[in-house]
């Protein structure tokens, strides 16, 4: 009889304890599903887009602006900045434009919503704080609608929300508009004025830059290789007035990489003798450099000399393993023996990998060496893709 009662009692205790735990333990399961941005931005179809097939004439200011007929293009700013007191910074601000569908897409009616757009903008903003050994990197997306993001040639303006690249009205330098770039996120900001010290450099064959053997696997590509830069950098609560040099790359294409290419190593080097070198090495999946690697030497007056793959020797002098996987080269000896150029290139800091939707390494580098038997030094930027993940 006692048993029956105690059984009921125990049952009641278990029940109430159970219900208490149930009530208490009602933590919502973590919700985890997603729509992939890269998927939203992809679309392997190249039909309906303009292609880079042959050299064409560049016209300015139109070619500062967007070319929505191509699938992708970018406005790529990198630079090395020195604050008073010797603190060194590197920065990157890139705005990519991607067309999700060609404008003439299969006769689909255009939407009536002002938010409708087939243009998506992606932005990458990084700051390398050398003395703190810190690399800040941010990514943003927005649609090219309702002033959220967009690009225009006259007046020159490219923006992704409040990341802004714009010309300063009425100011020109070497015939090129003076550009202001502003970006801010999570307490890191740059506000820079860029004056071009040289004319536009058309890359490849008059701006037609082949990346692979197939027709159309190429881009239209020009650069501003020496932009005198002034402004401010803010790192959390510290403001720095800086001076330095920037580089702008403008490239548009519909398809670039071939099936057997894994990625590229890209060098933009600004040297103390007022010359610049751009060189990219397309890498095959086998690891060997592709024959479509090429570059350019920009002289003091802006005159250019092409650099072919056969002219260049690159020796990797260091390696860096990303904490999120992938082994990157980290340090090079780049030489162009025919011109008597021998340079040693060392990253200012080793970890300058962008951990955003596309993983790549884009970092400030320090250069020293000899140019025609004279010592030179300088800074530059190196971009390494296809190491962290296969593009």
């Amino acid at each position: 009889m006692k048993k029956a009662l105690s059984i009921i009692l125990i049952a009641l205790i278990i029940l109430s304890a159970g219900s208490y735990l149930l009530l208490k333990g009602r933590h919502p399961a973590e919700i985890n599903t997603s729509i992939s941005v890269s998927k939203a931005m992809s679309g392997g179809d190249t039909a309906g887009y303009e292609r880079a097939i042959a050299p064409r004439k560049f016209t300015f200011p139109e070619d500062y602006g967007p070319h929505p007929g191509f699938k992708t293009e970018w406005w790529y700013f990198t630079g090395n900045l020195d604050a008073e007191g010797g603190r060194h910074f590197g920065y990157q601000l890139t705005i990519f434009r991607t067309a999700i569908s060609p404008d003439t897409s299969h006769g689909t009616p255009k939407g009536t919503s002002p938010l409708r757009s087939n243009q998506v903008y992606m932005g990458h903003f990084t700051l390398t704080d050398v003395s703190d050994n810190k690399f800040y990197n941010f990514e943003r997306f927005s649609r090219g609608a309702e002033k959220l993001a967009g690009a225009a040639a006259v007046p020159f303006h490219v923006w992704l929300e409040d990341w802004q690249i714009s010309e300063i009205a009425g100011e020109k330098s070497n015939g090129i508009p003076v550009i202001q770039i502003k970006a801010e996120q999570n307490g890191i900001s740059i506000n820079l004025t860029l004056r071009s010290m040289k004319p536009v450099v058309l890359q490849g064959d008059h701006g037609f830059s082949r990346k692979g053997p197939e027709e159309g696997n190429a881009s239209y590509y020009y650069s501003l290789t020496r932009l005198q830069t002034d402004g401010t950098v803010k790192v959390n609560n510290d403001n720095f007035t800086i001076k330095g040099l920037s580089w702008m790359d403008r490239e548009r294409s519909t398809s670039a990489l071939s099936r057997n290419q894994a990625g590229w190593d890209w060098f933009s080097l600004q040297l103390s003798n007022s010359k610049e070198i751009m060189y990219y090495q397309m890498r095959l999946k086998t690891g060997a450099p592709d024959r479509f690697s090429q570059g350019v030497i920009v002289n003091e007056d802006g005159q250019t000399e092409p650099v072919r793959k056969e002219d260049v020797k690159i020796e990797v002098t260091g390696k860096w393993t990303s904490p999120s996987g992938g082994e990157y080269p980290s340090g090079w000896k780049l030489s162009i023996p025919s011109k008597n150029i021998y340079l040693e290139i060392i990253p200012y800091i080793r970890d300058q990998e962008l951990t955003v939707s596309i993983r790549y390494w884009e970092g400030a580098v320090k250069i020293k060496g000899n140019w025609d038997n004279r010592p030179v030094n300088g800074s530059g930027y190196v971009e390494l893709t296809g190491y962290g993940e296969v593009l």
């Binding site: 399961a29 992939s36 941005v37 890269s38 897409s105 255009k110 919503s113 002002p114 409708r116 929300e161």
Partner: protein, 852 residues
């Protein structure tokens, strides 16, 4: 020893299987009702939470706009000029899909995939969970994503085209891809969503250039305060920033009264059940008095006796509860449909397709069932333990004891009634408190039962004697002479029946009030509106070109039109009804407070509004008070010029003239219109003509006043369906309880009947005696249930309904409700008499006498 005792108790139960079954059924049904309602409620609120979460995500704040929404530019301005981040623009609406023939409601959720990551993690980037090529999500109009489960339920695949219905318009969309939630929770959320880009949602909902809201995550610190200030300072008039839980809370509040009332009604069923359990247990003790006496005389202690009976009750409770829980789950499936239907009719679009059987609900049911049974068994068990160690206590002595106690019981009953009245009279708006107040009323009433039986039997006994002679006198005499038993049975029966009288009277009064109101309210000939998914809450608007064409139809003499909008006042939702009416329709509005003569002349031009009765009740408003309305020109104070009767929505409404509305809002589409026809115009053919007027992909509701009246009352009836089901269940519980109680009562007297039989009473005579006796008890219970039932109805109408919804109803006593009560009571009692009479008649008197 305890083993032996337990077994002997078990033997007793097994020897009376019918009684055992009935007791179990009584407990099981009570538990089933509680569990059923609780599961249904839990299911509905879970669906509600999911729908709130699916649209609100992790946002802490939301920026909302006027009737048309929030201009896109607000978003880009805040983002670019004010650097506010993170923010996510949202465009949402309710849509319906018929496939294959069943209507299913969805939330069309238009999002910007690039802003979603911090907010709705189930929509965030980097996922392999989406199948299909969704690259056109942003670029291609009409592109949607639905969940894998929804797709398979509806037989849909990637690239299929689907027709969805939005506020009367049919739109074609294409399924770009299917999304699968990673866990059950995500899956449940996604099941009710049609996902698309904000631009697609704008196009589908006709909201080009406008957002439903902007979601924000603002930390709760000084920096957050600063952000809030920046946002507040840059918002256009008519837009406001609110905490997102406020919006959830507002929506949850809508359902609260509804929820509480359902739960309370289910508990009422359990209380009825408790009375019956008490009844059954009491009789099982009474029947075994001799046996208990025997046990006591062989040395079993009082404590042990108490334990035997309590553990017997516990075993019954456990078995009954398990049965009840199983039945409750079955019941819940039906209930859930009714609950969801009502919520959809009255409050919001909620789609619940599956019952989630939460262990918590079951545990509550088990707890309540076992607890109630043990509680009800406590007194009988104590009584059992107090049986003296003699073979039997003389019955007459026991009855005398009760007689002496009757005045005291009655006095205590009166005190309880006063206590109940006191609780109910408290100037409180709490619904729960009102239900608590009902308990002492019921208890007080049951304590008054013995005295009422005593007095009414004096009168009934005379009649029964006149009608049935000696048998009649014997029957009535034994009711009073065995008052200790009969009083309990009569009280239980009358309480059970009175619950049904109370609920029935309340529902009928309500229904009649609404009918009367509808008749006075719908005086136009034809009513036209866009179809909405929530019947009583429709913000959809009509195509203005179509409206112009309808107004210009030759048969139309005059017309009224209106616009409905919902505003968020920061901590509440305000429904504005902007009305353009001619003087002919002024009489449609019956003022509860305020002077129509003074009100109408100011209606068009003054800053004056009238509010519905529930609105005035909820917000404690009187005529002459000011209310602040967040218009597009900022917060404006309006004078309350009248409070009028309205039964459309328990959330209440604020009514202003359309002219006033136009002064404060820019967007002037209309939500519906009513037409008065010229004499001689055929209404039905005009209705048919108007139905052909909209374009092929548009739909409007064109209804005659009769039809509208009918659909309104249909909705009313639907929303009280659950109440009716509960009422019916309470009657069934009562019926079973009374059956078992009366049977026990009669079986206890087997020996007495055997003596009667031995003395020459024929089986027919015995049957007559029993029938008259149970009939009298049933009649008594039925009659007594009428006053209590009406008291309950009064409390439900004037206190609980008012506190829950704020409506005034006419109290209406329906003869058929009262008659039904009498019949149910009488029938239950008579049926209860059949089996014992049959058994008595069959048993030979000698055998019955020998039994002990």
């Amino acid at each position: 020893m305890s083993h032996v005792l337990n077994r002997s108790a078990l033997n007793y139960l097994l020897r009376h299987p019918l009684q055992l079954v009935l007791s179990l059924l009584g407990i099981a049904l009570g538990v089933a009702v509680v569990v059923g309602i609780d599961l249904a409620n839990a299911g509905a609120s879970r669906a509600f939470e999911l729908s709130m979460e699916s649209v609100a995500g992790k946002a802490t704040h939301q920026i909302i706009g006027g009737p048309k929404g929030l201009p896109d530019s607000v978003y880009s301005y805040l983002k670019i000029q004010k650097h506010i981040s993170p923010m996510a623009p949202v465009v949402e609406g309710n849509v319906a899909v018929w496939r294959p023939t069943v209507m299913r409601a969805f939330t069309l959720l238009g999002v910007d995939p690039f802003s979603e990551n911090p907010f709705r993690s189930y929509l965030s980037p980097i996922s392999e969970k989406i199948t299909g090529d969704i690259s056109a999500f942003i670029a291609k109009p009409g592109s949607i994503i639905i969940s894998t489960r929804t797709a398979s339920q509806m037989g849909l695949h990637e690239n299929d085209t689907l027709t969805i219905k939005i506020a009367g318009n049919y739109k074609k969309v294409r399924i770009l891809g299917l999304i699968e939630g990673e866990n059950e929770r995500s899956r449940n959320i996604l099941d009710n969503l049609i996902l698309c880009d904000i631009s697609t949602a704008q196009e589908l909902l006709g909201m080009q250039g406008y957002l439903s809201r902007i979601d924000l995550i603002i930390p709760d610190n000084a920096q957050g305060e600063e952000t809030l200030k920046i946002i507040k300072d840059s918002l256009p008039k008519g837009a406001s920033i609110v905490r997102s839980e406020t919006r959830t809370k507002i929506a949850a509040d809508m359902l609260k009264a509804f929820d509480i009332n359902l739960t309370a009604l289910s508990l009422l069923a359990l209380i009825v059940g408790m009375f019956l359990i008490y009844n059954t247990m009491t009789f099982s003790v009474l029947q075994r008095r001799t046996y208990i006496g025997l046990l006591r005389s062989i040395g079993v202690t009082q404590k042990e006796i108490f334990r035997i009976f309590l553990s017997e009750a516990a075993v019954l409770a456990a078995a009954g509860t398990i049965l009840g829980i199983l039945a409750g789950i079955v019941l819940a499936k039906g209930m859930l449909r009714l609950v969801t239907q009502t919520i959809n009719d009255l409050y919001m679009v909620l789609s619940v397709r599956e019952l989630n059987i939460s262990l918590f609900s079951l545990a509550k049911g088990a707890f309540v069932g076992i607890g109630a049974t043990l509680l009800a068994a406590l007194k009988p068990s104590l009584e059992a333990s107090s049986v003296p160690p003699r073979l039997a206590l003389s019955r007459s002595e026991q009855e005398i004891k009760l007689r002496r106690k009757i005045p005291r019981l009655a006095a205590f009953g009166l005190i309880m009634l006063l206590l109940g009245a006191g609780i109910l009279a408290l100037p409180e708006k709490s619904i729960i408190l009102s239900y608590i107040g009902i308990l002492p009323v019921i208890l007080g009433f049951s304590l008054l039962t013995p005295i009422m039986i005593l007095y009414s039997m004096k009168f009934l006994g005379l009649i029964s004697g006149k009608l049935f002679g000696l048998t009649g006198r014997m029957a009535s005499g034994s009711i009073t002479s065995q008052l200790s038993r009969t009083a309990v049975a009569v009280a239980a029966l009358s309480i059970a029946v009175s619950a049904s009288v109370g609920i029935g009277t309340m529902v009928n009064s309500f229904r009649q009030t609404v009918l009367t109101w509808l008749n006075g309210n719908l005086e136009a000939d034809i009513y036209i509106s866009p179809p909405g998914l929530v019947l009583r809450n429709n913000d959809a608007t009509m195509d203005s070109l179509l409206v112009k064409k309808i107004e210009a139809l030759p048969g139309v003499k005059s017309y009224n039109f209106y616009r409905e909008i919902t505003l968020n006042t920061g901590n509440d939702e305000m429904r504005i009804f902007a009305l353009d009416v001619g003087p002919a329709s002024y009489n449609d509005f019956k003022f509860k407070e305020g002077d129509p003569e003074k009100f109408w002349p100011q209606f068009r031009t003054g800053d004056i509004v009238m509010v519905t009765e529930p609105y005035a009740y909820r917000h404690d408003l009187k005529v002459g008070d000011q209310i602040t309305i967040p218009t597009e020109k900022g917060n404006v104070n309006f004078k309350v010029g009248g409070v009028y009767y309205d039964y459309v929505s328990d959330l209440g409404m604020v009514t202003m003239s359309f002219d006033t509305y136009k002064r404060f809002w820019k967007e002037h589409s209309i939500s519906g219109l009513s037409l008065f026809l010229k004499p001689g115009v055929n209404r039905d053919s005009l209705i048919n003509f108007i139905r052909t007027m909209p374009g092929p992909n548009e739909e409007i509701l064109v209804r005659s006043s009769n039809y509208l009246r009918k659909t309104s009352i249909d909705v009313f009836d639907r929303s009280f369906m659950i109440t009716n089901v509960l009422e019916a269940l309470a009657i069934v519980v009562a019926f079973i309880g009374i059956l078992s109680a009366l049977m026990a009562l009669l079986l206890e007297r087997s020996r007495e009947f055997a003596i009667l039989r031995a003395n020459g009473m024929t089986p027919i005579q015995l049957w007559k005696l029993l029938t008259i006796q149970t009939g009298l008890m049933g009649l008594l219970a039925g009659v007594m249930s009428l006053p209590l039932g009406n008291v309950l109805a009064w409390i439900l109408i004037y206190i609980i309904n008012r506190r829950s919804f704020g409506w005034t109803m006419q109290y209406l006593v329906l003869p058929e409700v009262l008659l039904q009560a009498l019949i149910v009571a009488l029938l239950a009692a008579l049926l209860a008499g059949i089996y014992p009479a049959f058994k008595m008649a069959r048993t030979s008197p000698a055998l019955a006498l020998r039994e002990e």
